[in-house]
Amino acid sequence: MATHDIRVTVNGTAYDAQVESRLLLVHLLRDQLRLTGTHIGCDTTHCGACTVLLDGQPVKSCTVLAVQADGRQISTVEGLEKDGKLHPLQEGFWEKHGLQCGYCTPGMLMTTCALLTRSKNPSEAEIREAISGNLCRCTGYNNIVKAVQFAAERLGKEA
């Protein structure tokens, strides 16, 4: 199996890694960089538990090869908190009970983080559409919507 030397920047820190061609980005993050906040929930790109931002765009890291991330910027849930201050989405999920088992939460946070970057004040329908590629089995989504609305409002005030 051919290996490749790659450099990825994850949450602002550059990492050099030697990877097999077939290594999935999610396994690079979890197994090699030990950033285990990004989870794996399916094999078919449906559940979204592995969602990370690749150059700002949400991608399902179980369907991206590590080599495809070479030279690019990756953001994961571990990078959301800045200087000991939670991201408004993290606060929103906590405040509005937007999580239960917590397994889908990192993917939800990254997907909605990208949503709030492109849409400052999304409607409920927009939020639901945005997270339709992220499955949650616990919350019924009601409070995830509220969590995102909370964060949008908070970000609006900060802006």
Binding site: D43, T44, L135
Partner: protein, 788 residues
């Protein structure tokens, strides 16, 4: 209920933010696949492509040459230690790895141990298995025909495919009531096979320490203590005695019943670690999870009601065929092969009832576990709530009116049901009335009539369910003989903070918060200062775990009673400190004071300090208590749900326009968490009603084996749920609580199905089996000539 404690203390009734969330929102949860141990190896599993086949040979030669592959474990390997079969929780037997034949598609055939995740998968691809296909039995009705192949050839005396026959109630009296009835209705229903599909799949790390002879297993289990005992019983003969087994259940990414059973993968990983002497990690992928783990439901039910012309229900009869797959690996209490299906008289005052269930073997994965419900309650509720609507339609009565007419009246509680349960408390009309008010029932009926006149399809569906939770009283409830109590060990530190350990295991329910709130309620120690731990069998007290909504009814009660024991001792210490007699002390949250002299008081913190620094002569130092709670009865939460659907005549698509859920789970510990449980349960109830089914073709090939075909609801299909409460405390639970985690999964499906049938009733439709897919509806519309 107004909270009795301040928000700072955070006892019952406070919507306290969850204590577990800071780690989850930062990606710092600790799920099993996050754990890496030094020297850890990986396991992956070879699975059968056939539903029924003889294994002629397994060739591991090529696999063993794959770089990184260290070993291949087969049934023959395990047979050397007599570990190739294991008992199920229902006292049936299940293969760990086969030595002769496979019994369902995706059954474990061999396991590859390797130095990495990828090498193990390469090894799986290189194992060569030669199969000889055998006749496949998929249809449970055909399985009982005289010429059906007998599947369990391993059981010497087995001559057919019947697993059990179980019945309850008064057969003769019920037959008489039906014979004399003015009206009878009969409905066949199929409650399809579904899968809990928690977003985290199952897995473990088995770590056998050869020096100490100790096995530690980190695993996705809802019932770590029971698992430890099962491991000790199964593997005691190879030296794994119970004190040398430690099961750790770390953070669990959803359970819903799917993480109760012992799956072969866990046992193989343990065997591999014992043989190799290194930690072995096994994490199943989603397809393995859907294809091989325990399923739920798969009940073929014939439900009948007898009634008077005025709508008074006089008798109920249900006959069910339960497809269990190739072994009965359900996770019911042992004396209940069909779980608590006999709750099927529901919320109604039915005088005569008879119910029977036959369990059958087929070439499908084993199970019969719950899908977020208490042992077959969902099947029972779906049957009664559906057939009640069939009766309403037959009598041309409004389904709400028919329900109101037949509800068990409030004054009849505690109520003894015809099938033997003693319902603890209820006020069913109040819940239905509230739901009707909130949704605007009568206005909706008017709108429906107008729409119908215009040819539009709109339906309103009601479900007035009663659950049965909190298994259970030791007289009737055990799993493999272990009584279904649960436990709390509570220790108060000198500075007045506490640690509370429980025999249950949260999978997202928020125990770290709600249990702390129970302690806060009882002792006045702020919930924020109560550390809750579960899931490690080396430290937590023995308990039967979290499923069937039993945590609050059983372990929550244990927490309250342990706290009350502490309070008793605290009273003695307070009397000593205040130089007063115990009789003269009064308790108000967080302190004892002298009657008539409120300034003379000692807080629980002062008392705790004294317990370690100045305890009364003759008293043991310290302040801790243990309670093993054996519930006197089960709890019976209830509710009324009303659903409004619109149906697209072009596509057959059912859209839930509104859904009002009124729940009564008794007294509430954390309203925010209770609402969250209901929201989640509603979406998980909508799932089998509209989307989810695992079916098989005639060769036993699974048709819903990945998320490509097995459709979980997304945020787009889920409506914005509207939730309300009535509060009828349980008279026998120390906190008046009843449990809530599964009410909505149980109550929602018939509300949705009833709404769809209601939308189509004027076309002559009496029933539609779930899942009500667009295709199914479109075919009906086409047949009735109304498809656009």
């Amino acid at each position: 209920m107004q909270p009795r404690t301040t928000p700072e203390v955070g006892g019952m009734g406070h919507s306290m933010k969850r204590k577990e969330d800071p780690r989850f929102i930062r990606g710092k949860g600790n799920y099993v696949d996050d754990i890496v141990l030094p020297g850890m190896l990986w396991m992956d599993i070879v699975r059968s492509p056939f539903a029924h086949a003889k294994i002629k040979s397994i060739n591991t030669e090529k696999a063993l040459k794959v770089p990184g592959v260290l070993a291949v474990i087969t049934g023959e390997t395990l047979a050397k230690y007599n570990l190739h079969w294991m008992p199920t929780l229902m006292s049936d037997t299940q293969m760990v790895l086969p030595t002769e034949k496979v019994m369902y598609q995706a059954q474990e055939v061999a396991a590859v141990i390797a130095t990495s995740r990828y090498a193990a998968a390469d090894g799986v691809d290189a194992v060569e298995v030669d199969y000889e296909p055998l006749p496949v039995v998929v249809d449970p009705f055909k399985a009982l025909e005289p010429n059906a192949p007998v599947l369990r050839t391993d059981k010497k005396d087995k001559k057919d495919n019947r697993i059990f026959h179980w019945e309850a109630g008064d057969r003769a009296g019920t037959e008489k009531a039906f014979a004399e009835a003015e009206v009878t209705v009969k409905q066949d229903l199929y409650i399809p096979r579904i899968h809990v599909a928690s977003i985290e799949t199952c897995g473990c790390i088995a770590d056998f320490d050869r020096v100490n002879g100790k096995l530690t297993v980190y695993m996705t289990t809802q019932a770590p203590h029971a698992i430890r005992t099962v491991f000790a019983l199964v593997a005691g003969h190879v030296g794994l005695s119970e004190e040398r087994i430690r099961i750790v259940s770390p953070d669990i990414g959803g359970g819903f019943g799917g993480k109760v059973p012992v799956y072969p993968g866990y046992v193989i990983a343990v065997a591999a670690s014992v043989v190799i002497g290194k930690p072995v990690k096994w994490i199943e992928d989603r397809m393995e999870n859907l294809q091989a783990d325990s399923f739920a439901r798969d009940y073929h039910i014939t439900a009948e009601l007898a009634a008077k012309k005025d709508g008074t229900i006089t008798a109920l009869r249900m006959k069910t065929l339960a497809d269990h797959g190739y072994t009965d690996a359900a996770a019911n209490p042992s004396k209940f092969p069909a779980g608590l299906f006999s709750i099927c008289t529901g919320s109604y005052d039915v005088k005569k009832a008879f119910v029977e269930v036959d369990g059958v073997y087929t070439n499908k994965p084993p199970g019969g576990i719950a899908y977020r419900c208490s042992f077959r309650v969902t099947e029972a509720v779906h049957a009664i709530e559906r057939v009640t609507d069939v009766l309403a339609q037959q009598l041309k009565m409004d389904p709400a009116e028919l329900r109101m007419k037949n509800f068990i009246p409030k004054e009849k509680f505690p109520y003894k049901s015809a099938l033997g349960w003693e319902y603890d408390s209820g006020d069913y009309p109040a819940a239905l009335r509230l739901a009707m008010d909130k949704i605007g029932y009568h206005a909706l009926r008017k709108e429906q009539a107008e729409k119908r006149a215009r040819g539009e399809l709109m339906g309103i569906g009601i479900s007035s369910f009663t659950e049965i939770l909190g298994a259970g009283p030791s007289k009737q409830f055990d799993i493999l003989g272990i009584k279904m109590f649960d436990s709390c060990e509570l220790r108060i530190h000198p500075t007045g903070k506490a640690i509370a350990r429980f025999g249950t295991k949260s999978q997202g329910q928020g125990h770290e918060t709600t249990y702390a709130q129970i302690i806060a309620e009882e002792l006045g120690i702020p919930a924020s200062a109560v550390q809750v731990e579960e899931g490690d069998t080396d430290t937590a007290p023995y308990g039967l775990g979290t499923y069937a909504s039993r945590s609050t009814p059983v372990a929550g009660a244990a927490g309250a009673l342990a706290a009350r024991k502490i309070r008793e001792k605290a009273k003695k210490i307070a009397a000593h400190l205040l130089e007063a007699s115990e009789e003269d002390l009064v308790w108000e949250t967080g302190k004892f004071s002298v009657k008539g002299a409120p300034s003379r008081s000692k807080t629980i913190q002062e008392i705790a300090f004294a317990a370690y620094t100045n305890h009364p002569p003759g008293m043991e130092a310290g302040l801790e208590a243990v309670n093993y709670y054996d519930p006197p009865n089960l709890t019976f939460p209830f509710g009324s749900y009303i659903c409004v659907v619109d149906i697209d005549r072009g596509t057959g698509m059912v859209k839930i326009r509104r859904f009002v859920a009124v729940d009564d789970c008794g007294n509430i510990i954390n309203p925010m968490i209770v609402d969250g449980q209901i929201h989640g349960g509603l979406t998980m109830g909508m799932a089998p009603a509209l989307l989810e089914e695992i079916s098989y073709d005639e060769n036993g090939n699974i048709q819903g084996g990945s998320f490509m075909d097995y459709l979980l609801p997304t945020a787009v299909e889920s409506p914005s749920w509207e939730t309300y409460k009535t509060v009828t405390p349980s008279p026998h639970h120390p906190l008046g609580a009843k449990g809530v985690g599964e009410s909505a999964t149980v109550g929602a499906p018939p509300a949705i199905a009833n709404a769809v049938v209601d939308a189509l009733a004027h076309l002559g439709v009496k029933h539609v089996d779930i899942p009500i897919t667009p295709e199914k509806v479109w075919r009906i519309l086409k047949e009735k000539g109304v498809a656009e």
